[in-house]
């Protein structure tokens, strides 16, 4: 049977549709609550999806993240608090618009361009992923080694943090990945005789700890502080959006394409896509002086970009098993659990599942329009859920979720330790995203390195003799040279106080 028809049958099943609807509401809620991020939504969903078949499991993640990234715009507009980090780039701009009395137009633009941007990201994903998969089927350990290197390099390159701390975070993540049985000789490393540690640092409890528990610790300190809600009533949010589209259609296209590309780069996700496209928008605008005063132009670029980044991030995740952002890092784990090892083979073995993911992506972006409208209408109620009840409940979800990943208290212990570590690192300006990527890619990096060295019998030149491996290797080394060069120049230059 045609895999596309099979895929439609898989998606348009009452159970799957119910899961999608449920996760849409969940995503909207998590996204709209300041302090709860889209990554956290995914991390909390994994233990639930663990027991589902692949299509509803992936459907839940796709839908919840798409909704969360949009919903983050709502409190940005109403409270000047981004619901997710992906909305942080234009929170001030958005709130300034609200203060100018343009709350309706502001929310309408955010919703419509989020949907449209998301669809562009999906279109690129659908067009590119199968073609790339055809190429990737001929990848051996040399190519994967360079891809992993490239991904890790991007992770440090893309963070806004200072490079020393970015590298530190990456190295710690890679080191955590070496705990457990080593991929070459099968020797247990850093286990101190503990049976649980032999299974390594489990990814999901680490993620829940670093993204959710550390956030809860910060939230607990300010549990009594609430944002000040704007007084304006929400009216017809779609009025005037058409005019904005006619005027700024190019911004929309530029933001979406840029967002998809940044999403596809390993290590950079929706938040960085929004920051960069906002900056690009300002740089090339005819009226840059209006930016920051409640000008809609930059919002069009960046709100399209952060939603399109979601689709883009799935490209390397599905094709190479290399995550485009922290959300797809979780997705890769879910794919492995379902026996659908990401990589080019999944396109051959389970094409219907791939098409089903594409279908759900389109569907999720389409239902975002009515659901987003409903979320905007009920935003006041959502934002009024008391933090003092929400915080303990989320902690319980974290505990049970971590437990479910290892079926033992090891997961919970790991979550606690990683929560404390994540909080400590962030307090010192050390970003946790490179650490997470290092943890995900560490095993692939070491495994492919050892495999390549064994195959090459120790001859390093073999890393460059296959054509694609050669190109990837040279590109990676060039980026390193540029990075070192920049660091040296910055080191030479007089230090700004």
């Amino acid at each position: 049977m045609d895999p596309l028809i099979q895929a439609l049958g898989l998606v348009f099943d009452p159970y799957v549709l119910a899961v999608i609807a449920g996760s849409a509401v969940f995503g909207m809620f998590v996204g709209a609550m300041p302090g709860l991020t889209a990554t956290m939504a995914t991390a909390l969903l994994v233990p639930v999806t663990f027991f589902m078949s692949p299509v509803p499991a992936l459907g839940a993640i796709v839908t919840a993240t798409a909704m969360a990234i949009f919903a983050g715009d709502i409190p940005a507009a109403m409270l000047r608090m981004p619901g997710t980090p992906a909305s942080a780039a234009y929170t001030d701009e958005s709130y300034a618009m609200t203060q100018k009395g343009q709350l309706n137009l502001n929310l309408g633009v955010n919703l419509v361009f989020s949907v449209a941007g998301g669809l562009v990201g999906v279109a690129v994903l659908i067009a590119c992923a199968p073609i790339l998969a055809e190429v990737a089927i001929n990848f051996s350990s040399y190519e994967y080694f360079w891809l992993a290197c490239l991904g890790l390099t991007c992770a440090v390159f893309m963070t806004n943090a200072d490079p020393v701390k970015g590298f530190l975070s990456l190295f710690i993540g890679l080191l955590l990945a070496t705990v457990g049985i080593d991929p070459a000789a099968g020797f247990p490393r850093f286990t101190f005789g503990d049976v649980d540690l032999m299974s390594g640092i489990n990814f999901v409890p680490t993620l829940i700890g670093m993204f959710a528990v550390s956030e809860l610790m910060r939230g607990a300190v300010t549990v009594d502080a609430a944002g000040r809600m704007v007084a304006q009533e929400v009216g017809n949010i779609f009025r005037g959006v058409g005019a904005v589209f006619r005027r700024y259609w190019f911004n929309f296209l530029r933001g979406s394409v840029l967002g998809t590309a940044i999403g596809a780069l390993p290590g950079a996700g929706a938040d960085i896509a929004a920051w960069i496209s906002y900056a690009v928008s300002k740089r090339f605008s005819k009226e840059p002086e209006k930016f920051g005063t409640g000008h809609v132009e930059g919002i069009v670029d960046s709100t399209s970009a952060n939603n399109s980044a979601l689709g883009g991030a799935w490209i390397p995740a599905l094709v190479f098993g290399i995550p485009g952002d922290s959300i797809t890092a979780i997705v890769i784990g879910v794919l492995y659990m379902k026996g659908m090892n990401p990589g080019p083979t999944v396109f051959q073995e389970n094409p219907q599942l791939i098409y089903a993911v594409f279908t759900i992506f389109v569907l999720a972006n389409l239902i975002m329009l009515p659901l987003g409208w409903a979320a905007i209408k009920s935003a006041r109620q959502i934002l009024r859920v008391p933090k003092n009840l929400l915080l303990p409940v989320i902690l319980l979800f974290c505990l049970v979720g971590s437990f479910a990943m290892t079926n033992s208290l090891y997961g919970v212990t790991l979550m606690l330790v990683m929560g404390l570590l994540g909080w400590f690192l962030e307090e010192h300006g050390i970003p946790v995203a490179p650490l997470i990527l290092g943890l995900v890619l560490g095993e692939m990096l070491e495994q492919t390195f050892v495999q390549s060295m064994i195959k090459a019998d120790g001859a390093a030149i073999e890393f460059f003799t296959r054509p694609i491996a050669g190109v990837l290797g040279v590109a990676t080394i060039l980026i390193w040279v540029v990075m070192v060069g920049r660091a040296v120049r910055r080191g030479m230059a007089p230090r700004a106080a």
Binding site: K165, F171, A185, P392, T413
Partner: protein, 154 residues
Amino acid sequence: MRLNDALLGAILLGFAGWVWWLTTFFPAFPGQDYGPNLFPRILAVGIAVCAALLVLRGLRARGGLLVLEGWARQPARLLSFLAIPGAALFYILASDPLGFIPTAFLLLLALSLWFRARPVVALPVAAGMTLLVHWFFAGMMRVPLPRGLMDPFL
């Protein structure tokens, strides 16, 4: 809470050294130059280099060894902060002997009361969420949540 870069760097230098020392006990991979100790050693060196840079930077910038934000000096807020890891620790220690249901209920109730929720609201929310989570994870998802004291009733 924020340590001075120099102090943080020094701690990390010590950590990198400890990692290197641990790798000296790893066996060699028969017939090859690169064994299980290669990657951890590269990473230990990487961490050490970053740490050394932090130490240099911290010494150049001077400043106090430890910076505490305002909230860390207010006992109530400090306790709120510690309540989250504390609750997780309580779960780790208590869930096996007590079972999931009593542990989760006590945890939810105590935390929300500490965060000043009204008991009239906190009590039903704690009970309801505990049963909901238990029904969903233990019932629907078949996660082996510890039964503990509730064993005879489940």
